[in-house]
Subunit: 247 residues, 2 copies
DNA sequence: CGTAGAATTTAACCGCTGTCAAGTTTTTGT
DNA sequence: ACAAAAACTTGACAGCGGTTAAATTCTACG
């Protein structure tokens, strides 16, 4: 499964990588290096806001030095997977986006699989999924899809992209943007910080929970909200992670 | 999970790999390169007979050139994972054996998991397991062990090593070494050839099948055997793969 | 016993993805 | 506006796991 640099390069030399036709046909467009996939994954998530991803952020997320990331970004640009404006930042090309959404599909599907089938806790699944996402193939992906009955969200509530890269419909809004008295259902907890997830999970603040926003204290004060269980008081940084669907 | 050569080397430079203490404590001794693990796996299987593994066989199994394998074997010898006698062959050191049995445990457990939980056919699981075996960690391994209720054999009937490297007890004998009239239960089909497995599976000749050896035709002739379903006539090459437990 | 042929190793090289150090560009704060 | 700081890129290099071609060692056979 193309993990050795040498083997990879040789394969690419012999057989010039997947053609556009392959990709359009839904073949294994994800047949690229592990490293490449991780870069595309990170860039995709950093550019969700619409802004381009800067080198240092990418490097930090991947645990490499900015110089290393800079070099790699250039290579990805040469391969037409990212659009790079030197000293400014990177965004994904359509091709890069297709690959990224596909790997994210696999990542989130794996997270759900690890949670539902293998009974890992929701704060544990990201790490496992990360290790596995570049090792599974389309057959495995499809099999999970069947076993999980075509899921649309990972355990944290992130949307699972469809195979064609589109996203399922959602009506998620940020909890802290709502006004006091709003009632709704938690749909997503947007972090991969294991500790925060563990804490919020213990509080029952995970997708599906019914909550009512009681108060947002001014000047960065705590957010107070009510579940069927109890009243919670959360710091801004945690409350920011919560997305709800308003009742 | 350490797939980039660069990252790996750096990691090893910073943190000088698992110590003997780590290994004894049952920590993640399998924290080595993918490539290394595949080499150890192959060498283990080639040396099961007691003879040492020769370079060309190793290279063939791994899909690399003999020269490449030769270089790599030297590195593994430097790392005290294999015992190398130049121009003669390689065997595993105790350390290499520990790692190899551990990765084989994961491989076979994965095969069973893929078969039982993900409903892949028995001739499909080897490929998937091979891709995954170097990406899972101990927690995943342990979780499979629980879900599968501490299994002792993979779908083909190979023994799943225990975590300490020992093998479960077995009373498997080669079918073709038995004399006509022997009755028994198929315990193992010793091949990873997908086509052969598919065929034998379609014939019902898989672990658990009750069979009676009818006749072994001389001079390389066919082997005739009887299951509860029908009478089978197998070529020598296929019959050789079958191991049974005599009734 | 010597030699042809097979197996193996060595040498020189490559591509990938990193590192660190140094140089360049952009941003920021006064 | 301009200097300091931050961000980014470039250059020189390393390690891994491969390649091919050439040299070496082993083996088997007449």
């Amino acid at each position: 499964m193309s993990k050795q640099a040498g083997a990879q390069s040789t394969k690419n030399a012999t057989k010039p990588a997947a053609t556009e036709a392959d990709i359009a046909a839904g073949h294994d467009e994800v047949s690229v290096n592990d490293a490449t996939l991780h870069y595309l994954d990170v860039i995709y998530r950093l550019t969700l806001t619409g802004e381009s991803a800067n080198t240092t952020d990418i490097a930090t997320r991947l645990g490499v030095t900015p110089s290393g990331a800079s070099v790699m970004l250039k290579r990805l640009a040469d391969r037409k997977l990212v659009l790079l404006t030197p000293y400014k930042g990177a965004t994904l090309t359509p091709k890069g986006t297709r690959i990224a959404t596909r790997i994210i599909r696999r990542h989130r599907m794996l997270e759900l699989f690890l949670h539902k089938v293998m009974h890992f806790e929701w704060h544990e699944v990201d790490l496992h999924a990360h290790a596995l996402e570049t090792s599974i193939n389309e057959a495995f992906e499809d099999r999970m899809d069947i076993i999980l009955d075509h899921p649309t969200r990972c355990p944290h509530g992130h949307l699972i992209p469809n195979k064609d890269g589109t996203l399922p419909e959602a009506h998620d809004v940020r909890l802290i943007d709502q006004k006091s008295g709003t009632r709704g259902i938690v749909r997503c907890v947007d972090t991969d910080n294991s500790d925060w997830l563990k804490y919020l999970g213990e509080q029952g603040l995970k997708p599906g929970a019914e909550i009512e926003l009681k108060e947002i204290a001014p000047y960065g004060g705590p957010i107070v909200l009510q579940t069927t269980q109890k009243t919670h008081s959360l710091g801004r940084n945690l409350a920011e992670l919560i997305y709800v669907e308003v009742a």
